[in-house]
């Protein structure tokens, strides 16, 4: 039963995602004004050759801060999960 339900939901979702194939055209985006702005002005404004880095660190720098924070959170989380227990543990803390 569960198997059939899983396969069915997978097929339904795949069928709906097939609209991506018909709705978007590969290699020919509808709008490109934001990226054209980056490509045209990125080099003079920020003085870089690599536009991707310009976007990552300048135009969308705040995303990058969040993304480093994700990594930091993951490291803290893993460190927390594998921390050493020094004894004196309570069964229920609060």
């Amino acid at each position: 039963m569960r198997r059939y339900l899983s396969v069915a939901v997978m097929l339904i979702l795949a069928a709906f995602l097939m609209f991506i194939v018909t709705g978007l055209t590969f290699g020919n985006p509808q709008y490109a004004d934001m990226d054209d702005y980056f490509i045209q002005n990125g080099q003079e404004q920020i003085a870089t050759n690599n536009i991707v880095t310009t976007i990552v660190f300048d135009y969308r720098g705040f995303d990058t801060l969040g993304e480093s924070t994700v990594l930091f959170t993951a490291v803290i989380g893993v460190a927390m999960l594998f921390r050493k227990f020094t004894g004196g543990e309570y069964d229920e803390d609060e």
Partner: protein
């Protein structure tokens, strides 16, 4: 967890400086060629993973201290957010590129071309690249170390 054979260890010793140098090349030239803080940091961290795989866990923990790496990670992040806050202190919004085209440090404009030598450009981007590189290096190495520490019987 044991050490691997001598060939592998030798190769890891040989490769590690090369990987680190190459990783720092990727980090430093992030604004000129493909790459940047994440990619370079990931490269260096994978180099660290190479050393980790070649040696045993005891040798690794004596070589790479978790506390040091944690401090390194925090330092990178602080440098990163500090570079963002720098613009704010100067009266601009958060993450304003306060060094770009200023003529001082990292303030030159860049010509077209593939020749990676114009490091003194791009404002605070190289600063941020370095910061993120340090952070990703420490972070990903720590992830591997902690996951390995979960394998050890005595630890955790």
């Amino acid at each position: 967890m044991m050490r691997m054979s001598k060939i592998v260890r030798t190769c890891a010793d040989l490769m590690y400086p090369f990987v680190v140098i190459f990783g720092w090349y990727v980090i430093m030239h992030g604004h000129l060629t493909p790459g940047g803080g994440f990619q370079g940091g990931a490269v260096v961290a994978t180099g660290a993973a190479l050393v980790i795989v070649a040696y045993s866990y005891q040798e690794i923990t004596s070589m790479l201290k978790k506390a040091v790496l944690m401090v390194q990670e925090s330092t990178g992040l602080l440098l990163f957010i500090g570079a963002g806050l720098g613009g704010m202190v100067l009266g601009f919004p958060f993450f304003f590129n306060w060094l770009a085209n200023s003529g001082s440090l990292f303030g030159m404009s860049v010509p077209y071309g593939p020749n990676p030598g114009e490091l003194n450009t791009a404002g605070f981007l190289p600063l941020m690249n370095i910061a993120v590189g340090i952070e990703v290096w420490g972070g990903l190495t720590l992830v591997i170390l902690y996951l390995l520490s979960g394998l050890e019987k005595g630890e955790a």
